[in-house]
Amino acid sequence: MKTLRLALKNLLRYKRRTLLTGLLITVGVVAVIVFVGLSGSFKQAIVGQITDSVLSHLQVHRRGYLASIDNLPLDRMVSSRAFDKLSGVLSRDPGVKAFSPRIKFGAMLSNYAQTTNARLNGIDPEKELAVVPLLATRVKNAARKNPLLEKGEVLLPEVLALGMGIQSGDTIVLVANNKDGSVNGMTFRVAGVVEGLMGPGGRDGYLHIDDAVALLRMETPEISEVAVRVQHFHQLGAVAGRLRGALDLLTNEQNKPLFEVHTWNQLTPFYNVVRMIDIMTLGIKMILIAVVLISVLNVMMMSVYERVREIGTLVAMGTRPGRIMALFVAEGFCLGLVSTLAGAAIGLAVLWMLRLTGVEVAFGGANQVFSLNPTIALWEVLSAALIVLGISVLASLQPAAKAARLEPVEALRHI
């Protein structure tokens, strides 16, 4: 304590220099906290949007389906019997909150004037909303919100509806091949338009799963994928691991696992954007480290150089080398500590103000604007503080060691 008190007094000896250096470190800490807070909430919001409105937290497919998902193959579906077994495993896992079967297929869509191809998902509306609750927010001009659609109705992707001039209430025709190659067509009423979202499934249309079964002339329903929502997102890895373990026991005739489990990050290229945000966060922390290292090292070297005679006096009086070293390390530590406290306070205040004023970000469709809720985890603040304190001490070590090694006779002669 006495060493810290003396260190603080010595820091205040060169007020302007200490203030400027402290300010530099403070700005660095503020930058890290604000960036981590904004990027973290952006990441959270975007990941939430993708998982809660399209992908769900994890998906289960028949082994090999995902490799061909772009073709929407109908010959790699999960049979009714296999789906029953899968349902049993999912129902028994305490980490699973809800799951929803989907039938994904491609179809020709006609409004009697134009024809185009479309990707469609046959869903059970209630189960689907339980796994992707934000899907409802993406539906414009919806005939109803709950259920999103009924049998005989379809939700069309916005880009497709706009391009063909289709509006809610219009009638369209869907024509699809089943897995045997035979063609079937059915008419549907448009119940709403789904806003686009980046990533797989972001431009898909929806219809009732029973209609998909009928359109594809399935004798017994076959499922393309099962979307799963977990109880707690932070336990996703553990739940996925458990499910993989349990599902690996369900094998096909070749005694190979029947299913494969993929978490959201394995399903969307957006995960690379998330990783890029993490790399940028690491980058800004590296910049902070460099700022602290150079600033503190510079200040402490100057401090030792300017106080050579004083150090000689302290040594002559009997101050031990370890205490001399501790004095200078304590100065660097105090500089880092005060700057960190100031930086953390200002950074958190900025985040708080951003929360009050609101930060809006457009994502996916042009109309898809949502507010960020900039927050930062306590451990992130602590990690920034520990980085600054650790680097401050590290940067002080060399000048402090130099001070402790000074020969008193030489030091006392220094002008």
Binding site: K2, T3, L6, K9, N10, L12, R13, R309, E310, T313, V315, A316, M317, G318, T319, R320, P321, G322, R323, P408, V409, L412
Partner: protein, 234 residues
């Protein structure tokens, strides 16, 4: 009993490619409690002798014994501990810590070197500040003091730990004649009050006469008959 003993001490410094002898075969002894001056012209070896007594340097040859301990072979840490326990220093430029008040400067050796508890520090500091008549300036910083006041604080700092020996390197060099005389008188009275041995280097003839033991050095050699004792502690 002698508190400082020099036995055929030589000290040589290397300056570039040349060896410079600062002390050559110097032998003398300083009795405990003696008010001692090291005198001689600039470059005579006064400061070198003082540095050796203060365990700030090591002799090239010979033996230096301070308070019964030979200083040869003392490491940095060991030397620091010895100085902290046994010696006090007064410098020509006072060398007070500018960020500390008068009280804190005097308290420094007890707080940072001897780890004396707070309950014992304050009375000790108050006692020496009163002895040097600086008790009413305790809250001031060195920049607010005159040269004479600073040197009085430096003397208080040197004495606060009750050292056996106080070393003063040209303590009056930066003071006017009147103040220099007062500082020497103060050191003498401190010697009388605390029983501390004072060794100071000087080439000021006005204060040389105040010494009871005079060690006269020239060109690194002891001038024969110079370590005469003119008087002892009262």
């Amino acid at each position: 009993m002698d508190i400082v003993i020099f036995e055929e001490v030589s000290k040589t410094y290397r300056m570039g490619d040349v060896d410079v002898a600062a002390l050559r075969d110097v032998s003398f002894a300083i009795p405990q409690g003696a008010f001692t001056s090291l005198v001689g012209p600039s470059g005579s070896g006064k400061t070198t002798a003082l540095n050796l007594i203060g365990c700030l340097d090591q002799p090239s040859q010979g033996v230096v014994t301070v308070a019964g301990r030979p200083i040869s072979g003392m490491g940095r840490r060991e030397g620091a501990i010895f100085r902290g326990q046994t010696l006090g220093f007064v410098f020509q430029d006072f060398n007070l810590l500018p960020v500390l008040t008068v009280f804190e400067n005097v308290e420094y050796p007890l707080l940072m070197i001897r780890n004396v508890p707070k309950s014992q520090r304050k009375p000790a500091v108050d006692r020496v500040l009163a002895a040097v008549a600086m008790e009413d300036q305790a809250g001031k910083y060195p920049s607010q003091l005159s040269g004479g006041q600073k040197q009085r604080v430096a003397i208080a700092r040197a004495l606060v730990g009750n050292p056996a020996l106080v070393l003063a390197d040209e303590p009056t060099a930066n003071l006017d004649g009147n103040t220099a005389h007062k500082v020497v008188e103060l050191m003498k009275s401190m010697r009388d009050e605390f029983g501390t041995t004072f060794v100071f280097s000087t080439h000021d003839p006005r204060i040389m006469d105040q010494a009871e033991v005079t060690i006269h050095l020239e060109d690194g050699r002891l001038v024969p008959g110079s370590d005469s004792v003119k008087g002892g502690p009262s």
